[in-house]
Amino acid sequence: MLSKYIFYFLSSVAIYAALMVLISKKPIHSVLYLTLAFFAIAGHYILLNAQFLAVVHIIVYAGAIMVLFLFTVMLLNLNIEGEFPKKNIIKFAAVIVGGLILITLIGTFRTYDLEIIKNPTLNQIGLVKNLGKVLFKEYLLPFELCSILFLAAMVGAVMLGKKDIQ
């Protein structure tokens, strides 16, 4: 029972934080709420017994991505700039459209018979050892290709960031 409460608690926190990301006027507040949302999601991972993911999630999102966001906000001094409000009608339309997406998705899920897959008993897959085996055996090639992707991103970030001679 406890885990059920934990689930609902984490979900509410995550949704609240996500909504606050949108509602906050200042970008820095958005960043902070987003961090909160990420922590809530990390909690979900732990709840799913995916400890490795939870750790990586914290490290990558809260540790790297959020820092990057904060860094940008500080660097560009964006916080003073404030907000560029959209017209209310657009906001309204956006909410309607988002709501429609939610309804459509839930509509499709409703018909899904979940009884087919319900075997989470022996759940050791989320541990580093198991994941590592799979990652470096079956998923070795995508893993290596990721390094290409990272190289591309690195070269790109350097290229975009540095002052040009031209």
């Binding site: 990301v21 949108l22 979900h44 990558v60 940008t72 956006a94 897959i125």
Partner: protein, 109 residues
């Protein structure tokens, strides 16, 4: 955490799907509602995270590690994307002194 594992049965997978859909929809609304490119990036991150959580949930319920590996790859890509996105943002800011997406209106028709 053996308790958590056992208690997993009590949480229907449906709830995870609903929760992830909600998170996904919030991300979409964020992208549509905001003019600040930085906040749009954050909303996209929310969308990616909802997909991540969904994958992890499916993975756990199916007892198949592939889903979690995929999440790992998504995280990798997301990190790279954010780095590039922010670099682009800084570049734009240098030339236009704005991160308002409505300022991107030179190219049209």
């Amino acid at each position: 955490m053996p308790d958590a594992v056992q208690n997993l049965q009590m949480i229907p997978l449906n709830d995870y799907i609903f929760f992830c859909s909600a998170l996904f929809a919030i991300g979409i609304i964020g992208v549509l509602i905001k003019r600040n490119a930085l906040v749009i990036f954050m909303s996209v991150e929310l969308m990616l995270n909802s997909a991540n959580l969904l994958l992890a949930a499916f993975s756990a319920y199916r007892n198949d590690p592939a889903g979690q590996i995929f999440v790992f790859f998504i995280m990798v890509v997301a990190a790279a994307e954010v780095a590039i996105g922010l670099a682009l943002l800084v570049m734009i800011y240098r030339s236009t002194h704005s991160i308002d997406i409505n300022a991107l209106n030179k190219l049209k028709w």
